[in-house]
């Protein structure tokens, strides 16, 4: 008796897999995601600037971008979409939390975010302190 499963391939091709292939649109979507992920490498200063912008009050994406602009943080200039990618990422890492209010998503720091910010500031303060004597010395 021959193996009835020998026909499986042609049987499937004619039925459930008929006209079912991984389309070019899907392939392009993969390429696009890969490319965005590649660009999604941010400087630590950018992340800190975001954390600082929401440390006292929650803000929506637009107000965060305004604040970053005022701080002369230009990473997202002409590329605002990336800001939302990063906000989303920080939310996934549980550094930011968010809540919806009037159809806007407001971001704020949660405990993990506060800790990161505090640690970062402590580290830079120390560096600042250790640099200060030299700066004063040099200016004398």
């Amino acid at each position: 008796m021959n193996d009835p499963l020998k026909n499986l391939k042609s049987s499937m091709e004619k039925s459930i897999f008929k006209d079912f292939s991984f389309s070019n649109e899907r392939k392009n979507a993969v390429r696009e995601t890969i490319r965005t992920n590649q660009q999604a490498q941010f400087h630590i200063e950018t992340i800190i600037a975001i954390l600082e912008s929401v440390q006292y009050e929650s803000k929506d994406g637009y107000n965060i971008s305004v604040q970053l602009f005022q701080k002369d943080e230009r990473t997202f200039q002409k590329n605002e979409g990336q800001l939302y990618t990063l906000l989303h990422l920080l939310e996934n890492k549980e550094i930011l939390t968010s809540n919806w209010l009037n159809n806007k998503k407001y971001y704020s720091l949660n405990s993990k975010g506060k800790k990161y910010l505090a640690t970062y500031k402590k580290d830079t303060d120390k560096q600042g302190l250790s640099l200060n004597p030299f700066i004063t010395e040099a200016s004398l």
């Binding site: 009835p4 499963l5 499937m12 459930i16 292939s21 490498q41």
Partner: protein
């Protein structure tokens, strides 16, 4: 701080090279992977979404690929695991609960998924295979459709070759019963 630094650090591996590899994988295997995913999830749109995620995952994990297996086997392994994760996920278990229930009811009572129904008259063999429990469906599909050797299937699924042989044998018995029942 480490986690934040990781986010900020640039990956050193040649990005262009990785992108080309994924391109090539998509050119050669994307339909096979899509069909494999479909046999797990039985839904075209979900299969396409998952296949997309699988290629992205491969890109991210490419530097973890150790040349111990072929890249094809590696890709299949990622795909198979990704599908199983999906089937275990909250989304699937809650939203697709109905499907899950019918997976566990003995085959005779099984309702057949919409898409399968459409083709049921045309093809009872496909139908019967698609209604096998996952562990049998998987090995039958990989062996008879993707035409992989038991050794390769063993690498993909981390299941012992002898167990695979038993499953194939059992799958054939189940299929025979089903086909006789239908006639």
């Amino acid at each position: 701080m480490n986690e934040l630094n990781q986010l900020a650090v640039t990956d050193e591996m040649m990005l262009d090279e990785r992108e080309q590899i994924i391109d090539q994988l998509m050119r050669e295997y994307s339909d096979d992977i899509l069909h494999l995913v479909y046999t797990y999830v039985k839904n075209r749109t979900i299969a396409e979404d998952l296949a997309q995620e699988i290629f992205i995952k491969c890109f991210e994990k490419l530097n973890q690929f150790n040349q111990q297996s072929t890249i094809k086997t590696w890709l299949y392994r990622i795909a198979s695991n990704h599908c199983k994760d999906y089937l275990k996920s909250w989304h699937y278990r809650k939203i697709m609960l109905n499907n899950k229930i019918f997976d566990h009811i003995p085959s005779k009572l099984k309702q057949v998924e919409e898409e399968v129904i459409k083709h049921s008259e045309e093809n009872s063999l496909t139908n019967a295979v698609m209604n096998l429990p996952i562990k049998y469906r998987e090995v039958v599909f990989l062996h008879y459709y993707e035409e992989l050797s038991l050794k390769e299937i063993s690498k993909i699924t981390s299941v012992n070759i002898n167990t695979l042989k038993t499953r194939l044998k059992r799958a054939k018995e189940l299929l025979k019963d089903k086909m006789i029942e239908e006639v």
